[in-house]
Symmetry: C2
Subunit: 235 residues, 2 copies
Amino acid sequence: MLTYPTALGNSVRPSERHYRPLDAVHTTDSEDGAGSLDRLMHFSGIVVSYARNAEIFGEDEAAESLYKVISGTACTYKILSDGRRQIGEFYLPGECFGLEYTSKHSYSAEAITDAEILVVKKSAVMALAGRDPAVTRRLLTLTAIELARVQDRILLLSKTAQERVVGFLLEMARRMPTDNAIDLPMLRQDIADYLGLTIETVSRTLKTLKNHAAIDVSTRHVVLRNRLTLSRMNG
Amino acid sequence: MLTYPTALGNSVRPSERHYRPLDAVHTTDSEDGAGSLDRLMHFSGIVVSYARNAEIFGEDEAAESLYKVISGTACTYKILSDGRRQIGEFYLPGECFGLEYTSKHSYSAEAITDAEILVVKKSAVMALAGRDPAVTRRLLTLTAIELARVQDRILLLSKTAQERVVGFLLEMARRMPTDNAIDLPMLRQDIADYLGLTIETVSRTLKTLKNHAAIDVSTRHVVLRNRLTLSRMNG
DNA sequence: CGGTCTTTTGAAGTGCTTCAAAATACGTGG
DNA sequence: CCACGTATTTTGAAGCACTTCAAAAGACCG
């Protein structure tokens, strides 16, 4: 897998795809500290542009920062000893990752499209958290949301190939601004590595769904045609 | 599956198995609020005894309490529409569960052996957290640890049956007080539902490991004979 | 000791993977 | 803007790991 050079610094280079405008991100003040944390991130963070396939951080590196996707898509992953790659999660614009509380990262992260990522030192976040309890509460909320999401993935991974693919599509549709249309930022191989399937199985399953008139699918675009059918297929 | 009657109240009925003495639990004061939270739980919580297979809470019930295992073993689980059960996690003495930040539980919990569970109202925890920021930090730490554990499970579930069983045994050994001897509190069916396998595959895989002199295994007891072999089998 | 629950074992079936290759999409230089 | 080379996706056929179904063996409890 090629690794493209990484552009560092506060540059604001246009990226390939924008899924959600930044101003759609939740920035209002609330008792869970969303406002304070969000303001801190945008104030003390720097925007870093990553080319497609560029590594954002590596496993076992010091975990010093929090990350928020501005544009493009990132993912976390681990390489197993047999060479297979398991993708932990995809991160779309507005979503945060790097919420680990160990000193080293336990997985790697990379940009799967050209992407702009807001990078904030954890030390800055922790300093603010010391002054503003709402920030700690916000971090707790974000971590709990991530936990719930990962627990859902465990359910997904215990299902059949068709249920996994359907679950993936429904989840992506939920997280995208458009209702039934999905612009897939990732390759079939990424989907396969996310769902614990092979690329061939993903391809064949999408075709089956298309043949059952449940979806329309082209290389990078999916339209959910029949949510009722899909929900029934979702186990 | 039978559901046994649940004994409610502050009773202290002896339970089947004790894996770790309570005083081995981390109770020292520290900057992450472990001490404050722990004292609160033991001060304002009540100990409830559950018989084997008794439900501790059900999916969609209001999530009003935090739980800490005193003795015995509990697990969280979800029933899929096809009737299969996916176990989310096992909880051994000293471990906490119910760390959800939604108003309703998104999974069920039950005692898989007779068990004593310390039950604490979230409202009490949150009240303390409002006065003592260290408690919120402690909750954040506990949630982050749970998150890391679930992320590891995702890796486990993307592996072969043998790797899953080996990973399960190594993980259980790590969490038990004894080094290489494991007293399994759960049935083969529970292990199967945890690993996303069938009971037959679990049984056959344990036999294979035994035949390779990697473990000794009887119904409820496992001894890790050769950790090097096991580690190599762990993917 | 008898009944029930649990685990093991065997044999056949199947869903996903693997291997191989064709078809299609994509990016780039001419 | 087209043509070419590369990357990605699709399709086909065979293999295999795990499941399913069935039944025997063993463990547990009153």
